[in-house]
Homo-oligomer: 333 residues x 2
DNA sequence: CTGAAAGCGCTTACAG
DNA sequence: CTGAAAGCGCTTACAG
C-alpha cells in the first residue's frame, strides 16, 4: 500500500494540489476557497487517513516543528524529569522534541548540533559544556532560537534559564555552620562548567564569611566520566583520612555514591555528621535519616524554557535575550 | 549566511552535482570517478564545512536514519536507563533516536505513531499499550521494522524483547513463602498490559502451588495516572486494615510510594514484614534496611533491541520475528 | 570517467 | 474562486 500524497487527494477531489494545500494549512478562507470545496476536500482527507509528509513540508518551508534538546545524560533523574516536562509542554504546542545525551563529550556534542542542524530543527535547548562556544555562536548567528539551561557559557549572549547555584551552595554551607559544623567537606566533579564552579565558589565564600579557613583536603573533585567504583574509593579514602563533620555533595549522583560508602563503612549520619545533596532525588527523602537537599524548581525551569523558545519561534524579529535565574530551595530533612 | 548546498560544492569544484553526490555517499569508486576529482571535492567539502541536508535526502530516499522510541514515561528510571543505552548503541551505528512518552494514553500514543510516520522514521521501538494493536499492525503491513519491548501485545506477530515477568514474580513470592510469610500483599497498577497481568498471575500461581488461598483484600490495583497522594492514601488504608507480613510492589515507583507510607506510619521492615520491588532503583540499595528487588537485565535488553532493529533495517527481505525473553534476577538485600 | 534531468511531496508567488 | 509552475536539496537511472 503506497502512502497517499497530496496529489492523490487532489485527483480524488477533482481540484488542484494548490487548493488542497491551502485547505490543509487553514488558509482556505483566506484564499477564498468555496465552502463546498473545503467540505469536500476535508471529507476526503478524513476518510482516506491522509497525513501530509512532514519531510517534504520541512524541505520546502525550512522548518520542522522539532526542537532539539541536548543534555548531559538522560538517565540522570534531574535531566529526565526536565525532559519529560519539556516534552509535555512542547507537545501541547505542536512541537516535538528530539533529544540526545552528550555524556560531557565535546566531540559528541558538536556532532549532535550538526545533526540537529542538518535535520533543520527549529530551535535548540542545550545544557552546554565548555568547548561548544563557537558552535552555539554559529547557531545564534544563523538566527536560530537557542535556550541554554542548567549551565551557561561565559562570553555568549544567549537566553538562559537556571538556578542560583552560588547562592544555594552558600546558604547550605551557612546552614551547616549554624549547626556548629566547622570541618565541612565539598564533594564535586571536575567538569569545568559554570554551574559546578559556582558551587565551589559558594562554598568558599560561605567559609570565608564565617572565618573558617579553606582547607583543600576537604574538597574532592571527582573525575567526571570515571567508574563509580573509583569514585567510591576516593570518597572512602577521604572519609577515612580527613576529619569531617559535614559533607555537601555537588550533584545527586555523587551523593548517592557517597551514601553507599557511608553505609558500607558504617559511618552514621546525625549527631557528628551532616550531609546535604545538590539536586533532590527520591533516595534522599526515603533515606534513614532523611538527607537534606537543594531543590531546583524543575517545573518552573521547564516552563521558562518553553516560554522562551516559543516566544522566539513565533517572533519574526530578533528578541532580546533573557536570563532567568530561579532561587533553589533547601529542603531540610 | 546561507547554508551551503550540494550545488555550491559542485560549482566550486567545477563538476556536476551528480559527481559530488556520488563522492559524499561513498559511491565514487564504484562509479569510477577519478581519484583527482575525489580528492578535490573532498577537500572543498572539508574546508567549507558543508553538511548534506538530511531532510532533502530523506524526501528523496524515503528513509531518515532515525529510529522512533515510544515509551511510557521518560522520567521513570527504568525507561530512562533503557533509553540512554539504546541511544548510545544506535548512535554508534549512525542512527538517531527520537523519543516520546505516551503516559499510557492511547490517543497520545496513536498521535505519536502518526507523527513518526509522517517524519518517515526508519523503525519503531515501542513499549506498547492496549489499543495500539491496529496501528502497530499497520506499521508491520507497511513493512516497517517494529520492536516491542517490556510489554507485548497479544495477537500481534512482532519482534519482542522482554523479561520473564511471570517467573520472576513467581519466584519472588516463593521466596517470601520460604521465609515463612503467608499474608503476602501485591501492590500493582490497573494498566491492562501483559507485563503487569503476568505479575499478578505469577503471584497467584505461586500462592496456589504453596496451598495458600488467594485473598483479594491483599491485592491493591492502583489507578495508573492518579496523583501520588491518592496512591499513598490507598496503601495506607491497606496497611492499616489488612494484616500483611510481606509486600511485593509491581513497579519501582509504587515501591517508592509504599516505602514513604511505611516510613510515615512507622511500620518497620524486617522481622515481621518483608518487602520486594519490581525493577530496581537506587533507593532500594540505600534504604535501611536494604530492599530486595527484581532486576531486569537492562543492558542485555537494550542490546537485544538494537540488534533486532539493525538486523531488520539492513535486511532487504522480511525476516522472521523473534521473541527474546530474558530471565529477571532477584537481588536479596 | 562524468553530467543532464526526473522526481521525492510539499508551499507559495503569480496569473487569471 | 482556483490552478500551473517553480523550487526546496537531494539521489539515481540513463545516456554518452
Amino acid at each position: 500500500m503506497k502512502t497517499l500524497s497530496i496529489k492523490d487527494i487532489a485527483v480524488e477531489a477533482g481540484v488542484s494540489i494548490t487548493t488542497v494545500s491551502f485547505i490543509i494549512n487553514g488558509k482556505a478562507r483566506n484564499k477564498s476557497i468555496s465552502e463546498a470545496v473545503i467540505k469536500k476536500v476535508e471529507k476526503i482527507i478524513a476518510e482516506s487517513g491522509y497525513k501530509p509528509n512532514q519531510i517534504a513540508r520541512s524541505l520546502r518551508t525550512g522548518n520542522s516543528n522539532i526542537i532539539g534538546l541536548i543534555i548531559e545524560d538522560i538517565s540522570n533523574s534531574f535531566f529526565s524529569r526536565i525532559a519529560r516536562l519539556i516534552e509535555d509542554k512542547a507537545y501541547k504546542k505542536g512541537y516535538k522534541i528530539i533529544y540526545s545525551s552528550t555524556e560531557n563529550n565535546v566531540e559528541k556534542a558538536k556532532e549532535l548540533i550538526n545533526m540537529f542542524k542538518s535535520r533543520k530543527v527549529d530551535g535548540y535547548i542545550i545544557s552546554p559544556i565548555k568547548g561548544l562556544e563557537e558552535d552555539i555562536q554559529q547557531l545564534l548567528t544563523d538566527q536560530k532560537p537557542v535556550i541554554l539551561f542548567d549551565r551557561s557559557l561565559p562570553g555568549l549572549d544567549t537566553n538562559y534559564v537556571g538556578a542560583d547555584h552560588f547562592k544555594a551552595t552558600y546558604e547550605s554551607i551557612a546552614s551547616f555552620i549554624k549547626q556548629g559544623r566547622r570541618r565541612i567537606s565539598l564533594i564535586t566533579t571536575d567538569i569545568d562548567v559554570a554551574q559546578i564552579t559556582a558551587r565551589l565558589e559558594g562554598y568558599q565564600k560561605a567559609l570565608e564569611d564565617h572565618d573558617i579557613a579553606y582547607d583543600e583536603n576537604l574538597v574532592l573533585k571527582v573525575h567526571f566520566n570515571q567508574e563509580e567504583d573509583e569514585t567510591r574509593l576516593q570518597m572512602e579514602k577521604l572519609f577515612r583520612t580527613v576529619e569531617t563533620d559535614a559533607i555537601l555533595f555537588a550533584t545527586n549522583y555523587l551523593a548517592i555514591s557517597g551514601l553507599k560508602v557511608l553505609k558500607q563503612t558504617g559511618q552514621k549520619i546525625g549527631k557528628n555528621l551532616s550531609v546535604m545533596a545538590y539536586d533532590d532525588h527520591e533516595v534522599f527523602e526515603l533515606h534513614t535519616p532523611g538527607i537534606s537537599a537543594i531543590q531546583q524548581p524543575l517545573e518552573e525551569i521547564a516552563e521558562a524554557i518553553i516560554q522562551l523558545i516559543l516566544r522566539q519561534l513565533s517572533s519574526k524579529t530578533k528578541l532580546d535575550n533573557q536570563q532567568i535565574i530561579f532561587p533553589a530551595k533547601i529542603v531540610q530533612r
